[in-house]
């Protein structure tokens, strides 16, 4: 009987010990499981927050160009995925944000290939208050109508207008710092100090050739841009000034300072709209003067009519010269464009236009262009 009691107690101890051991294992298992769950939740939470702060976007445009040349101008018959662009942004906080734009031009880049990969924007905005934001990095200059906003769904014509391309010269980006914001309610501004152009005699001092694209760019001589716009619903009237302290970055003693003045109007009332822009460069020095490049200017006017949300028609007159300093240089170019945009979706556009050129040098390209564009 006594032996039975001892045996019962021993067995009891063993069972309790086993149960305790089993319980401890279960608790450890549970703890381990909970820890894993918490880690997973943290990871998910963290991933979610990361994605919440990331912004993606992009645009692209496919062009078919078929103008015929006259004079000594060549015929063009080409199809080209002109631009494939991705935007990536990241909000470090509500007040500090990063934005970037990476572009592949002409589909194929590399040695001997027609295209190139370009970093067109990579800047950080520091919000100072509701009205003012400081910006630093690689930024688009706030000049003209197209340079900052050029998604294909936002403008008429397959190709960007020739005046902003050759005179502004869009798309134009530099590295710099400054601020943008709003004054007195209806007036916005942007002011930056930034890297400058580097033109040369090789390109007859044409401003477009001076874009260094912030690629190991010479930066001995800075530039500054100030832009002001008055904006009310349906109307923007604005302009910009830019000063280049040396448009050859000190490489050419026959050239020096340069000044760009630009004004524009953008009116959209109901179904009718009107764009107009005038831009004028003056380049100091005997070098530019010898090529007539001491004066480079252009202007265009573009009325348009959008009777329904999905279809719009436009016409444009453009005139420009990169060597207007010579009155007899035969360098003035004139182009007429007319066509239509069809938006099957607000973010997708199909374009068709016809261009006529009437250049002073008699080398004209006239014909039609087709385009497909999108943005998201």
């Amino acid at each position: 009987m006594r032996g039975t009691r001892v045996a019962t107690i021993v067995i009891g101890f063993v069972l309790v010990a086993l149960a305790h051991g089993a319980g401890a294992q279960t608790t450890e298992g549970r703890l381990s499981q909970l820890e894993q769950e918490i880690a997973d939740m943290k990871k998910q939470h963290s991933d979610g927050r990361l994605l919440d702060n990331v912004h993606f976007g992009g645009y692209g445009e496919l062009h078919y160009n078929n103008p015929s040349g006259s004079g000594d101008a060549s015929d063009t018959e080409s199809i080209d995925f002109h631009r494939f662009v991705l935007f990536i942004g990241y909000d470090f906080s509500d007040r500090i944000r990063f934005n970037s734009e990476l572009e592949l031009e002409h589909s194929l880049s590399g040695n001997g290939e027609p295209g190139e990969v370009e970093l067109e924007q990579a800047y950080i905005d520091f919000t100072l208050n509701d009205s003012h934001t400081a910006r630093g990095g690689l930024l688009l200059l706030p000049i003209g109508i197209l340079n900052e906003t050029h998604e294909p769904t936002t403008f008429y014509g397959v190709e960007r207008n020739a005046v902003e391309k050759n005179i502004i010269p869009t798309t134009w980006w530099e590295a710099g710092a400054g601020a943008h914001g709003q004054l007195l309610g209806d007036i916005s501004y942007a002011a930056y100090i930034h890297s400058g152009l580097m033109t040369s005699t090789n390109s007859s001092y044409a401003v477009r050739s001076g874009r260094q694209k912030v690629a190991k760019a010479q930066a001995s001589d800075l530039a500054g841009t100030l832009a002001v716009n008055w904006q009310i619903p349906g109307v923007t009237v604005g302009g910009s000034l830019q000063y280049q302290s040396d448009i050859t970055q000190g490489a050419d003693s026959d050239a020096g300072e340069a000044l760009l003045r630009e004004v524009h109007v953008d009116v959209q009332k109901g179904s009718v709209a009107l764009l107009a822009l005038y831009a004028h460069w003056t380049l100091d020095g005997d070098g530019p003067k010898a090529y007539g490049a001491d004066e480079q200017y252009g202007w265009y006017i573009e009325p348009s009519f959008r009777p329904i949300e999905t279809v719009g028609f436009f016409a444009r007159y453009s005139e420009w010269s990169n060597s207007a300093g010579h009155s007899n240089s035969n360098a003035e170019k004139t182009q007429y464009d007319a066509g239509l945009n069809w938006w099957p979706h607000r973010q997708v556009v199909l374009k068709a236009d016809y261009q006529w050129q009437d250049n002073e040098d008699g080398k004209d390209q006239s014909g039609f262009n087709l385009g497909l564009g999108y943005d998201f």
């Binding site: 109508i145 007195l184 209806d186 002011a191 953008d266 109901g270």
Partner: protein, 171 residues
Amino acid sequence: MTSKWLVLFLQAGGLLTLASCVSNGNRNTAVFTQDTASEISIPVIGQTERVCRESLGYTYPSTEILYYTTATSRVWTIMTRGRHGIVTSQFEIGDGAIRNIRVLSSKEQRGRQIKSQRFLRQFEGVSLSARNALNKRVDGITGATISSKAVNDAALLALKLDAAMPLKASD
């Protein structure tokens, strides 16, 4: 040369800041006084999700839509996509028309003017047309089409949601 630039830049910055201090007094005159604790949340599923997609052309950027009621109106808080992130707008709607509107938050840059009273005032009195669109064409901020569209889309969605939920006496 560099110091000359710096002085000019600092002077310009000072003038801009001064001007903005003077100009900030007249913003957001619309009154939205309701305590937001009484906001009601609608999950963006089913019919609501479909209305959102039809109005915006994309998936609503949140899982819920908030509103609260006053004696004679309903106030909707709507989120839409702008050029630089989410634009959050608030609409007071009574008798099927927008009475008040304000932009609560926006990161738009060229489209900063979507917060201006001159732009927002255009929406006052706007209601749904027979074709379920806004019954009045609103002029956007030129050069900031996407930002302007964000507010247009929000107005359309708010009106559609409000129309789907007629005010009851108990509201």
